[in-house]
Symmetry: C2
Subunit: 413 residues, 2 copies
């Protein structure tokens, strides 16, 4: 001890400051990480290590420096995402399992207080105006079709699949999902359908090809619309499917069915009611609609890092927000709700495995930090659905007065 | 004209006042009734008559006096109910069809403004405290089991049935409903179930008898609980079913399943969150719950007359109120919602037909105004479900983190 005092006095001011915050401090900080009960080992740059549960760790997180450690303490989500992306945090072991454990260790009810502290207004300010929506969508969906083709299914469906059996292939499950949607809508030959947010157009083409529907599909991603149109031409479907590069707010006309699969989470909390207005002016008295979206059990902003790096402007709404903002103002009747979150976890597992198989190619197309960013996004989304932190809802609805509704449920073919 | 002036001058003051409000005024008032487009004929005591639609009338409403006519203009729901009950308003023709037309002629969106005018606080004041709940329930459910036995099914189920086919008998449909509930809960032998509001105990006994469940069922209707216990003893089920005469707020213990069929509409808007707390403390991590209740597309108070004469303290909540007040605060996940309103319309049709067959008996048990009151209640409820004015929701839910949820839907046996 006295030895160390003697040595210290001989150090420069800078060195002394570092020593004061030395290994002891770092280990103390390490112990402050909110990971109690999570079967994780954390290893620091200086060799210090700590486990947070008596159970054998699922994996190990290596932290490169003190800045990263401090970030994790004060702004966990963002700091972890950025550090992982930049290689200052590295996970050895089961990334999804580890993230799922972290999500499960959170108290979902604590979010309430947290939500009160940050007024909703702060979220609302980032309004998804038509222009901002276009930029947001461009950020994610215009990364290049070649990239998505590497790990999506053959039909390029970038939304939750539906696995009749967990052992089914992704291709089977995406087809089954499209059939499930058609079945729930009660789609018949000649029915007019409008689709808000159509991705690469798989569902629109499926409805036209397999069910004889006449579809107008809207999307503001230029790359996706171009692909969708080419594909429709190749399949000789241009008479029955029209792909329109425009915002959902500009949908006009009336249709037997309104369908939106995986767009609601991009609409934003403050524009949900605008979507409700669009549906209201679009759906005739006996029309039927379906909304398929990533949602929540309770309102809560999207993870800040995911919002920054993956889905700017994204907001997975709570089920009651969707009812309150979109369906209730126009007296729509909810006919059916199904929660498919475990199917989304499995879909993401398929995507992540395919993504991993093409790691070298993707690295060459972009760079290392892109690969890490996307791996973390895919893994954390899978963990979020597996831990119940996120939900996948399909809502079927009709006009309040319409009796043109199914008498009872039947199972899709 | 001059002749009438001469005559008038010879009348007493009282007579003159009557004459001034005479037939011309009554017909003018008649024309002010908000029935535009409804295929109804209205006939007044003085022989005046009017149709409100070019279509042939579904039925005819006879109005006995000016007081009734004025009431219909200024306080339609209450005045019509009271006049019908007292015989001052009489309907010839299809009562249900007529009421359905009236409901369909209303603008459901106009309710919003109406709702704003009457602060929710006014509704909240009629709080369903445990004591008031007991009085409210006594008012309706303790009318005498003999009365309900006349027109309910064999098992005495007084909630929406589930008709696998619209031609099925009521007895079949009530059994199918109980099976549907057990199926949605995934009930297995030995499972512990708590039921909040158990009526005459049919579901609780069904779960024990057909599925080997162990059930504790709560109800504050003395007549119903007595019947339920007798019936359980007769069926030798007392080891597995316990009927408890107590308020849902006093439920204790934990159970694999929480089920409530047809009680939520008696809980009241201001106590929904209390029910949520009960469910939260009752359901273990892998528990599953089901709420079956009369609901709305949008919040709106129960018809004032129904509240006065049939269901004091009743409030059929909008779906999003149930999510927001009961499930969301505790991070429950909605797994499944089904809207069975057409099944309730058919159930009510069965009840009404049976009721009508026993009219003379019921008249002898009570009196004429009781018969008219109940006929109007059964008919208007049927019309409300048929016109989309009311909904019947079944919600299945689980803890947000539980993965013990069905992989996919299957159809009940």
């Amino acid at each position: 001890m006295s030895d160390s005092i003697v040595n210290t006095s001989a150090l420069s001011r800078q060195e002394r400051r570092l020593r004061l915050r030395g290994p002891g401090i770092d280990e103390w900080l390490l112990g402050r990480l909110p990971l109690g009960g999570v079967p994780i080992e954390i290893r620091l740059w200086n060799g210090a290590a700590r486990c947070f549960s008596p159970d054998p760790p699922i994996g190990s997180l290596w932290i490169a420096d003190r800045r990263t450690l401090l970030g994790l303490l004060f702004n966990t989500e963002m700091a972890f995402g950025e550090a992982y992306r930049e290689g200052r945090a590295r996970v050895d072991g089961d990334l999804v399992g580890l993230l799922e454990s972290v999500f499960r260790a959170r108290n979902p009810l604590a979010v309430r207080a947290w939500h009160r502290l940050r007024p909703v207004g702060a979220l609302r300010r980032r309004g998804n105006t038509p222009l901002r929506s276009r930029l947001n969508v461009h950020h994610h969906y215009d990364l290049g079709n070649a990239f998505y083709r590497l790990w999506l299914d053959r039909e390029m469906v970038y939304t939750c699949a539906y696995f009749p059996s967990p052992d089914d292939e992704l291709e089977t499950a995406q087809l089954a999902k499209m059939e499930l949607v058609c079945h729930k809508l009660g789609l018949r030959p000649g029915d007019r359908v409008v689709e808000a947010g159509c991705g690469w157009g798989a569902l629109a083409r499926h409805m036209a090809r397999e069910h004889g529907a006449v579809v107008r599909a809207f999307n503001i991603s230029h790359e996706q619309i171009t692909y969708a149109r080419d594909q429709a031409a190749r399949e000789d479907l241009t008479e029955r499917v029209e792909f329109i590069e425009d915002d959902y707010r500009n949908i006009s006309g009336t249709y037997d069915h309104f369908v939106s699969v995986g767009m609601l989470e991009h609409v934003g909390q403050e524009h949900l009611s605008a979507l409700g207005e669009v549906i209201h002016r679009t759906l005739p008295p006996d029309g039927r609609g379906l909304l398929h979206f990533i949602g929540r059990n309770r309102p809560r902003p999207l993870d800040a890092w995911i919002r920054k790096r993956i889905f700017p402007g994204g907001y997975p709404p709570a089920l009651d927000e969707v009812l309150h903002e979109i369906l209730e103002p126009w007296d729509f009747s909810v006919l059916d709700v199904e929660n498919l979150r475990l199917h989304y976890a499995l879909t993401l597992e398929h995507w992540r495995r395919r993504f991993d198989r093409h790691e070298t190619t993707i690295q060459a197309m972009y760079d290392d930090s892109f690969v890490r960013t996307w791996r973390l996004y895919l893994a954390s989304a899978e963990a979020a659905f597996r831990s119940g932190w996120m939900q996948l809802f399909q809502i079927v609805f009709a006009r309040g007065r319409s009796n043109g509704i199914p008498w009872r449920r039947t199972v899709e073919k």
